[in-house]
Symmetry: C2
Subunit: 94 residues, 2 copies
């Protein structure tokens, strides 16, 4: 049994995957990096809503970002993101 802090952190991590909007953002970033505005268009969402969610994703190190001119480009942070999502998809197929 891990200590309470690790359990809490784990729950916080999965909580971030537990929202359709964030999941859609993650999928949009699966193959290629995208800037905020394009994300908003692709997902038919407000720029503000996207930005709020990106902030959450970034704070959990699920995505990273870099500036490119006026835009800020977001991308998936590491392979764990893909693995976790893939495992989730496998679980659903049953």
């Amino acid at each position: 049994m891990p200590d309470e802090e690790e359990i809490f952190d784990l729950a916080e991590l999965f909580k971030i995957f537990g929202d359709s909007t964030r999941m859609r953002i993650l999928f949009a970033l699966f193959d290629h990096e995208i800037c905020v505005n394009d994300l908003a268009e692709i997902l038919s969402m407000t720029q503000s809503a996207v930005s709020h969610q990106l902030r959450i994703l970034k704070s959990a190190h699920l995505v990273g970002s870099r500036r490119e001119g006026k835009s800020i480009i977001y991308f998936l942070a590491d392979e764990h993101v893909r693995t976790i999502i893939d495992q989730g998809r496998e679980h659903i197929e049953e």
Copy 2:
């Protein structure tokens, strides 16, 4: 990009991992199956609260249950649960 329904289901699945109480229950069941009352004691929780959460875990097929006398024994449903949690833990170690 998966269809909206799959994304929704995925988010719903991860939402279930995204709660400390449920995560604690899952860890308690990691090594051996346990009945509701024992879970409540181990986790210092109300029997009612545990039962409510077990219901959610079971509806997502993360745990299974069987009756044994007066008690009902709960156990982890499949290996995906362990894999998903393990991947989450790996992600945190950084």
